[in-house]
Each structure stands twice: as structure tokens, then as C-alpha cells.
């Protein structure tokens, strides 16, 4: 009576509950330490609040001592945890606070995306960081003097609000480059697989330091910097407003007064996907015309459309959408992801297994440390055993175990290695 029943829905519910039960991991020692610090800070704050209430005599003196100790402890905790230098005094700007949409900060300051819509950081004084879906990034410091964020792979837009005194420093580590900004709107991307760096500056001024000859590079509004470390090329050119608009496809910065072409980004399919509205996405695409949608939709919307089509088993549409992603946005991280996802699409039919294998190979070649590298290698191993036999899959299994000893496919990989 209390167990999920024998109906189809009941069996599916039991399976879902099992997935949910197994997906929860216990907190790590670092998470526990951090949580205990948080509780202690709240207890100290309580003590401090109680201590400043007016009392009399000895009680007052002891309360003040307690309050001072508590306040000192709080200051130490905050300073230690944020890595912030001590406040320079009354000239210092007020402390920065921020909120995150679409993700969370996890151990080591890494930003973990909770959906497919990217992550947005909003700072209290108006600065915004918008990280495109799939971008791997780390919030290194946030303190009264500014913030520093590292983009390890992917694309991000920044709209930095200048302070009147110019006393805030915003820095972005992009792969091996360091971008220092003051009151600027720009988009930056780094592809770790191809070692390509790109910065498009719309307003303001930035300086870029990195492994390029000639030292620091200063960019003016409207300029675009392209560095291809692999080829040793550095190119700075002027960009038209149209080019800027194309670069900003996806969550664009606030509109400016400039003559910017309207970008087709108002579908918000990533949000619809996160909310499970798959049919709505497909219906809207059909209403607008599939061909036109594939030609005009933003990279983010194409990804959401491909996911919706895959989940609804419309593999032809999923394939066309992923191919459009690769054709229209060939240098974006999503084009790489599309290669892996095309493998998944092809695997849905027996006649597509060989093509799936080619896609996984392509993905692993271009992004050996990419988001889906473990999954792609695991799928490659499985497909090779199906198509060419266990003996051909064994070297892939060995590679898998070497690189991902605790990965999802570690069990089958061990079986392939042990097989006669």
C-alpha cells in the first residue's frame, strides 16, 4: 500500500526514487568544515547582538568584552574566508555582495550550473557577469576592492559599473590571460582545446596580459582581440555593431543607444527546458518554421531545441539542430558539445552506431578534457565492443580506467580488461 504500486506509473516512480536516492552524496569534510564555520559565525553574531543591549555593572563590562571578542572573531573569519585584505579605512568602498541565478558556488569557488541556461552573477553596485551555458568558471575573490573570476573554458559577458572614485578592481582570468577592467562592457571566450582567446570590447577600456609578445595589450571601445596560441597569431581589429550583436548572442548585456541589429534571443527556451516545457519549445519552433529557426535562433536556443527534440525522441530534428549549431557557431564550446550529442542521437538507431563512433572520436580529439570526455570515452568503448568485438574495445577500456578510474563506465571497462 505504501510502496509505489505495480502500475506502470508506480514502477516508474520507484525507479525515479532510486535514481534520486543514489544521486545524493554525503557532504565532504570541506563542506562540513565550511558549514560549521557558518553556524559559528551566526552564534558569534548573536552574542555580539546580545552584548550591545544596555545592561548594568559587571554584566555590561563582560558583555562588552564578549562583543569585542565576537566581533574580532567575525572579522577574522570573514577576512580569512574571503581572502580580503584588512579594510583600508573610511576611504574604502562598501563591501560587495552578489547573488547568483542558474547555479551555485561549490568547493574551491567553482560555479556549478544548475540548468542549461548559464549562470548570472549580479553585484549590488550594478555589475553583471553572464556565463554562457557550459562555461567552466571559478569565483576567485569577492571583497570590498572588487572581484576576480577565472574562465577556464567557455564564453562570458561582463558589464562592469564604474565607481566614481574608480577604486574597484575587476579582473578576469581567461585561460592564461588576465583581463583588468574598469567600467566596461565586453565578451570574452577561451577554448582550452584549441587554445583560442577572443575578447570583444564594446565600451570602456581593458588591458590584457598573457603569453603574447609585446607585453600588455590595451584595447579601446569597439576593438576585438583574437589570439591563437597554437598558431602564434595575435590580431586586433575594429568590429562593427553588427559583429558585436552577433557575439552577444545569448544573454546579451543591456541594450545600448547604438545601432545594434536585433538578435533573435527572446525565446528563452533554455528556461523552458529547465522547467520541463519540452512540447512548448517544439511547438514554437514549428510555428516559426523549422528551417527559419535553425538559421536564426541563438546558439543557446539551438542547444535547448536539440535537447527538447532528443528527449521527445525526434531524432531527425535533434540531428538537424545540432548540425546547425556546429555550422553557425563553429568556434563556440557548444559546437564541441554538439559533436558529443550527435553521437547520442546516432546511437538511437542501430544503423547509426558507426556514425556515433565517429562523433565520439571527433569530440575526444577536439576536447580530450571536455565536459563529456568521460561519457564519450565510455560510449566509444561500448560501441567498439558492439561493432568490432571486445578485443578492440580493450585498449579503450584501459585508457578509460587510466583517466577515469571512478567513472560511470569503470565497471564495464574492468570487465573488458579482464575478458579473455
Amino acid at each position: 500500500m505504501t510502496a509505489p504500486g505495480e502500475s506502470k506509473g508506480g514502477r516508474a516512480l520507484a525507479a525515479l526514487a532510486e535514481i534520486a536516492r543514489d544521486s545524493v552524496r554525503p557532504p565532504s569534510p570541506a563542506e562540513l568544515d565550511s558549514g560549521l564555520d557558518g553556524v559559528r559565525a551566526r552564534l558569534y553574531a548573536d552574542q555580539a547582538k546580545r552584548a550591545v543591549r544596555p545592561t548594568s555593572g559587571a554584566a555590561l563590562r563582560w558583555s562588552l568584552v564578549g562583543a569585542l571578542a565576537a566581533t574580532a572573531a567575525l572579522v577574522i573569519i570573514v577576512a580569512t574566508r574571503s581572502g580580503a585584505p584588512p579594510s583600508p579605512g573610511s576611504a574604502a568602498p562598501p563591501a560587495l555582495a552578489y547573488r547568483i541565478e542558474g547555479g551555485t558556488v561549490v568547493e574551491g569557488g567553482y560555479l556549478r550550473e544548475s540548468g542549461h541556461a548559464g549562470i548570472k552573477l549580479f553585484f549590488t553596485e550594478g555589475t553583471e557577469f553572464i556565463l554562457m551555458p557550459g562555461t567552466r568558471s571559478r569565483l576567485r575573490t569577492v571583497d570590498a576592492s572588487g572581484a576576480r573570476i577565472a574562465i577556464e573554458h567557455g564564453t562570458a559577458s561582463f558589464q562592469v559599473t564604474p565607481t566614481p572614485a574608480g577604486n574597484r578592481r575587476w579582473q578576469v582570468d581567461v585561460g592564461p590571460f588576465l583581463v583588468t577592467v574598469k567600467g566596461t562592457v565586453f565578451t570574452v571566450s577561451w577554448d582550452a582545446a584549441t587554445e583560442k582567446f577572443e575578447l570583444r570590447l564594446r565600451h570602456g577600456r581593458v588591458t590584457v596580459n598573457g603569453p603574447v609578445s609585446g607585453g600588455e595589450i590595451a584595447l579601446q571601445a569597439g576593438q576585438r582581440l583574437l589570439v591563437d596560441l597554437h598558431r602564434g597569431e595575435t590580431v586586433i581589429n575594429d568590429q562593427t555593431p553588427e559583429e558585436w550583436a552577433e557575439a552577444a548572442a545569448g544573454p546579451a548585456p543591456r541594450a545600448s543607444a547604438g545601432p545594434v541589429r536585433k538578435v533573435d534571443t527572446d525565446r528563452q527556451w533554455a528556461q523552458a527546458l529547465a522547467a520541463g516545457h519540452l512540447d512548448r519549445i517544439l511547438a514554437e519552433a514549428e510555428r516559426a518554421g523549422l528551417k527559419a529557426t535553425l538559421e536564426r535562433a541563438s546558439s543557446e536556443d539551438l542547444l535547448a531545441l536539440a535537447d527538447a527534440a532528443r528527449y521527445r525522441r525526434r531524432m531527425d530534428l535533434a540531428r538537424d539542430t545540432l548540425l546547425a549549431q556546429r555550422r553557425r557557431f563553429p568556434d563556440s564550446p557548444r559546437a564541441l558539445d554538439a559533436a558529443f550529442l550527435l553521437g547520442r542521437v546516432e546511437e538511437a538507431s542501430d544503423s547509426g552506431l558507426a556514425r556515433a563512433l565517429e562523433w565520439y572520436d571527433d569530440y575526444l580529439k577536439r576536447a580530450p578534457k571536455g565536459t563529456y570526455a568521460s561519457e564519450a570515452l565510455g560510449r566509444k568503448m561500448t560501441l567498439m565492443s558492439k561493432l568490432e568485438g571486445v578485443s578492440r574495445a580493450r585498449p579503450v577500456a584501459e585508457e578509460y580506467l587510466r583517466r577515469f578510474p571512478n567513472g560511470t563506465y569503470a565497471g564495464p571497462a574492468r570487465a573488458f580488461v579482464r575478458a579473455p
Partner: protein, 210 residues
């Protein structure tokens, strides 16, 4: 080089390990505001409270906030615990109360904004299989539709693997009430899943059977 030895007999006294303290001793130490008791209580019970929060809310980050809230209340109200040996129940009753408040707050927010807020599921980060992550998210979207009490009972029974009797004790409800809430929650979830043939078919196709 010679060393002069004392003739006074000495004995080695080993400080008691806080981990050996019983729950009752721990509760009394908390009430007496012994600093070691806070650390020991956190390390003894926080893992279970955080895991319960993660399973209930589907979010690691929200579960951390909930755990801090729960233990802040426990530490500030430890002197109100009349039966020290019931420290574990005391903590979990706070945890369920805070979780229920959070679930009600979510419902109210959805009602006030006239739209269902996005269900943020940040569990299963180690799941590399994108289909599993999607299923997980869809499961929590369904849980969001349940009333807070139904959801908590379902989580305790089917995600925390408690018996009906244990769930009743944790929630301070009668066994018959828990059974009634559980049946209602299970029936509703099953119906909603059956209304989504793609979901059922997908689980069947993938061989995800309990």
C-alpha cells in the same frame, strides 16, 4: 649526556574523546555551552541532516543553508531540551520543521508570482549521464507539486528508506496518518508520471526498473 629522572610517581591521564560521549552527555554539554559540544554535535548529526535536506529539496546549496539554520536553532535552544537522551530526535524535529517551512515558502512564492518557479536541481553532479540528470530534474519538478507534508513523508519513506513507524516518530504523527499521507503522495506521483508516457517509456527503454 645524562638525564635526571624525577622520583615522583606520575600517571598518564588521557582526555576523554568527545566521540565517546553519549547523546545525553552531549546534550548536557550543549546546554552548559561547552565549546567542544558544538563541534561534536555538528560532526555527529550534520551529515544526516544535510543528506536529508539534499534529498528533500533536490539542491545541495539549499541543503547547506537549511543545515546551518537547523543547528543554529539547536545550539541556541539546547537548554530547552528536557530529555537529553533524545538529542537526535530533538535535532531531526528541528530539521523537519525548517524543511517544511522552506517547502511552504516555495509554494507561497509560486502562488504569489502566479507562475511555477524553475525547479533548481543541483544534485548528481557526478552523474555524467545527461539522461539521468534530466530524469532527476523531472522527478523534483513532480515533487514540487506535492503538499509539503506529503512530500516529507514520501522522502522519509522512499528516499531515506525509513519504516512507516520511523517516519511517524520523526514527524510526530500517528502511524495511520503517515500511511494515509504516503498513499496519497504515492498515488498522485504515480498518476502524474503515467500522464507522461514519454517518461515511463524512457525509463522502460533504459531498463531503469527498481
Amino acid at each position: 649526556m645524562s638525564t635526571r629522572r624525577t622520583q615522583i610517581p606520575v600517571s598518564l591521564v588521557v582526555a576523554p574523546d568527545p566521540r565517546d560521549a553519549s547523546d545525553a552527555d552531549l546534550a548536557q554539554a550543549l546546554a552548559a555551552k561547552s565549546p567542544w559540544a558544538i563541534t561534536e554535535t555538528w560532526h555527529r548529526f550534520a551529515p544526516a541532516v544535510i543528506t536529508l535536506g539534499r534529498r528533500t529539496l533536490g539542491s545541495e546549496s539549499e541543503a547547506e543553508d537549511i543545515a546551518q539554520e537547523v543547528f543554529h536553532r539547536v545550539f541556541t535552544k539546547a537548554n530547552t531540551l528536557r530529555a537529553p537522551e533524545r538529542l537526535r530526535s530533538f535535532i531531526f524535529s528541528f530539521a523537519l520543521r525548517v524543511l517544511r517551512t522552506e517547502l511552504r515558502r516555495r509554494k507561497a512564492r509560486a502562488w504569489l508570482s502566479f507562475q511555477r518557479p524553475e525547479t533548481l536541481v543541483d544534485l548528481g553532479a557526478e552523474l555524467t549521464d545527461i539522461e539521468s540528470r534530466d530524469l532527476l530534474r523531472r522527478f523534483y519538478v513532480l515533487l514540487d507539486r506535492l503538499a509539503p507534508r506529503h512530500r516529507l513523508v514520501f522522502v522519509l519513506r522512499h528516499l531515506e528508506s525509513m519504516t512507516v513507524e520511523e517516519a511517524a516518530a520523526r514527524m510526530d504523527l500517528s502511524i495511520s496518518t503517515v500511511k494515509r499521507l504516503l498513499t496519497r503522495a504515492t498515488d498522485k506521483l504515480s498518476q502524474w508520471i503515467e500522464a507522461d508516457p514519454d517518461l515511463v517509456g524512457f525509463l522502460d527503454e533504459k531498463g531503469w526498473r527498481p
